[in-house]
């Protein structure tokens, strides 16, 4: 347990190593499938809506009309997660001016910082529904 003075000093400097959550976002700006492959025979309670897609066959096998039979695989649909999807906190260090600007925008629009950030992520292509962006105070 650190004193308030020490925490204040800590707050003025960056971490020596990058936060894992930040690196994941930076490395994968495209929409991410949260559950890549699940068993079709084992439907999970409150699982995301599933769709059937055929796994691609190797090109050589297609040309000869032979090769092993590829069973369809079931993957999670990337779009529109259920509203009850659990949430997780992430932390990222940003320039002070950016943090201030987000706070100002949130105050001007009577919105939350969370919804401002989610709108930005939505705008660059992340699969985030309007329901998820919605200010939950309302």
């Amino acid at each position: 347990m650190s004193s308030k003075q020490l925490e204040s000093i800590m707050g003025r400097v960056v971490k020596a190593t990058p936060a894992p959550a930040l690196s994941v976002v930076a490395a994968a700006p495209a929409p991410v499938i949260s559950e890549p492959v699940v068993e079709a025979a084992k439907p999970q309670p409150e699982a995301p809506k599933l769709q059937q897609v055929a796994a691609p066959q190797p090109k050589a096998a297609k040309a000869k009309g032979e090769g092993r039979v590829v069973e369809p695989k079931t993957i999670a649909e990337p779009a529109k997660a259920p509203a009850a999807e659990p949430e997780r906190a992430i932390q990222a260090y940003v320039p002070v001016s950016v943090a201030k600007a987000i706070n100002i925008r949130a105050a001007q629009e009577d919105a939350t910082v969370r919804s401002i950030i989610l709108q930005g992520l939505q705008a660059i292509g992340f699969e985030i529904s309007d329901e998820q962006v919605r200010d939950r105070r309302r």
Binding site: S3, Q5, L6, I9, M10, V14, A16, T17
Partner: protein
């Protein structure tokens, strides 16, 4: 004379000589029959990546830990069996360095005779004074010494920097780590002058630095205890 238990090399300026001094001091105290350990808290892992666990410096316990959450524990664990524990830190202002410093008996601040190094050294010294005002260090302040590195003896700039720092009351050690090829040559094999060339000029520089650290730290420690 008293050897500090935990010595942290710290400055926000990269390339000032933190890793070189950390490795060299550890080698010196190993050669004088102490039981040094090194915590490499620099994410670049300059010391850990070149350390040979089967080499001439294998008796130095080494742990790479750049994480602010765990570096305190790493220092404490090594402190139980080793003295001194020398902590190398990253060349930018970061939380791991602050956490290491709050656990230090002595913070050694290396600086070259250059404006950027002086600025960061002063910033680090002021940070240590600020840390000494926290409840964590109440009644047992962290000592901080500056040391000039990579100097060319007799140059005007080195004399000027020394004069300015001493004139403004900063605790600059008389010992200097002069520019010598021995450091980069030996570091490529994870070694240091005190082990490979104990009679060489670089080893003498490090021995003088270690002696002054021990003497000054011991003197202040005794005065405060009295």
């Amino acid at each position: 004379m008293s050897l500090p238990h935990v010595i942290v090399l710290a400055t926000g300026k990269g390339g000032a000589g933190k890793s070189t001094i950390a490795r060299s001091l550890a080698a010196h105290w190993l050669s004088t029959r102490h039981k040094p350990a090194v915590v490499d808290a620099d994410p670049q892992a300059s010391i850990a990546s070149f350390h040979d666990p089967e080499g001439l410096m294998k008796a130095i316990a080494l742990k790479a830990d750049p994480e602010v959450e765990t570096v305190h524990q790493s220092i404490q664990e090594l402190s139980e069996r080793h003295k001194p524990v020398i902590v190398d830190t990253a060349g930018f202002r970061n939380q791991t360095t602050v956490m290491a410093a709050i656990n230090a008996d002595l913070v050694l601040i290396p600086l070259k005779a250059a404006a950027e190094d002086v600025r960061e050294a002063i910033h680090m010294y002021e940070l240590i004074q600020e840390l000494n005002g926290t409840p964590e260090r109440e009644g047992r302040p962290i000592e901080a010494f500056m040391v000039l590195t990579m100097t060319t003896p007799g140059t005007v700039i080195a004399r000027h920097v020394r004069k300015e720092l001493e004139g403004n009351g900063y605790p600059l050690l008389a010992a200097e780590v002069t520019q010598r090829v021995a450091y980069p040559e030996f570091s490529m094999r994870g070694l240091s002058p005190s082990i490979v060339e104990p009679d060489g000029a670089a080893a003498r520089d490090i021995a003088a630095l270690a002696a002054e650290i021990t003497k000054k730290f011991g003197t202040r420690h005794v005065v405060k205890a009295a």
